[in-house]
Amino acid sequence: MLDDFLVRAGLAGFGVSLATGPLGAFVLWRRMAYFGDATAHAAILGVALALATDMPVPLGTLIVAVAMAVTVAGLAARGWAVDTTLGVLSHGALALGLVAISFVHGVHTSLESYLFGDILAVTKGDLAYIWVGALAVVALLAWRWQGLLTATLNDDLARADGISPDVERLILTLALALVVAVALKVVGALLIAAMLVIPAAAARAISRGPEQMAILGSVIGAVACLSGLALSFWQDTPAGPSIVAAAAVLFALAAGFGKMRRH
């Protein structure tokens, strides 16, 4: 069954959606969308690192994404203007990564597959990386769920209950880096942030509780992956952008449905 490239593509999409649902919810609640973008862009630099050192690509991506996320979080904590810092680091890392990749000798894969993903070329090895990474993110978030949610409401409220907002922030930062490493192959560096934000935003419109929103985010992400793959298969459109476009359509439907139900 895993020999069929479409089956592998579908499973890869499901794996990514599993993690982006709950993590995407936190990205919205804590307004981390731009932060997610910066971490995702840094992945390109990670690809260059991996190609230059013969490391597996997900590992190189993970290393650079963690470094990027920790740097940004650290600078923000020290009072740097977050918007400016993210703008510089995000685009700086993307450009530097693209330049670095061009220096690496004998690269067969086209740049495009890292920028927009290459879900139809997912191998069994990729699948293993994706599912291990995604399950790790889900386990991490489930383990810390109550503390994460409390710290999201108010730092002092968390501190009064013995929860360290800084630790919870670090957990989310690491989870984000993991998701970036895992989702690169599926939607590419430029569209990872979209997979975090759009399904979660769609889920918000039809959710009454944080847990429901996290789970619905995963479901909507998975549906978007299937629809995007179908579109790509029948109409020969690029797969990654098709998935994100499908997610955007689902968002519009959910927003409309949510509005209707409220009236």
């Binding site: 109550q146 503390g147 409390t150 002092d156 409220l157 968390a158 501190r159 009064a160």
Partner: protein, 253 residues
Amino acid sequence: MLVQAKDLTVRLGGAEVLSHVTMTIEAGEIVTILGPNGSGKSTLLRALLGMVPLSGGQVTRAPGLRIGYVPQKLSIDATLPLTVRRFLSLPHRISEVEAKAALARVGMADAEAKPMSGLSGGQMQRVMLARALLAKPGLLVLDEPTQGLDQPGEAGFYRLIAEVRQETGAAVLMVSHDLHVVMAASDRVICLNHHICCEGTPRVVSAAPEYRALFGLGTQGALALYQHRHDHSHDAPAPHDHDHSHEGHSHAG
């Protein structure tokens, strides 16, 4: 003794916000920290709870002391769907019975299914108080709990606090910048302007020259509260600048 501060000093961004504060909170008493805007009230509260690093002195909390904390303001992002019931279960999951009892206690029965984002300021304060009570606290800490409430709302909230203390025996530490209601609702008042100006029972404090200097008297006094920044030095040189308007009161330092 529940919480004790000795010679507590806090610097934030170079400025000395609190200087050599020494105070104690005993079991079961209602203590109000009173002071003008920017006098370091909230910082003192947070320092006593161990939420800000100290640059001098020490804070001791009774071992095993449970604290119920009500922050000044809770701004919940519109993207976070959160009902009152779910909020009460943060960070510890509680039973349906506990939730109902806590909400009934603060006069918010039937609010369980309401979204947090739809609550008014006063309702939000009551729900946050209900959540704080669920921790079965030995000390209840409230940071300007009646900010944004009208006068009846304010009086009602302080009445509620007094009832809760009566029932649970919890000590209460509050921060406020309004005089009249607080005076009636407290066992002890601490006047703060970066250092402790004076403290004691409401009657003693309201008669103290330091208090009168800090807040003035009558309606003019209430106005002076907002216009006026006061500092006097006891024995050490003043840690911060003087900015005085001497109208309507004499100097106490």
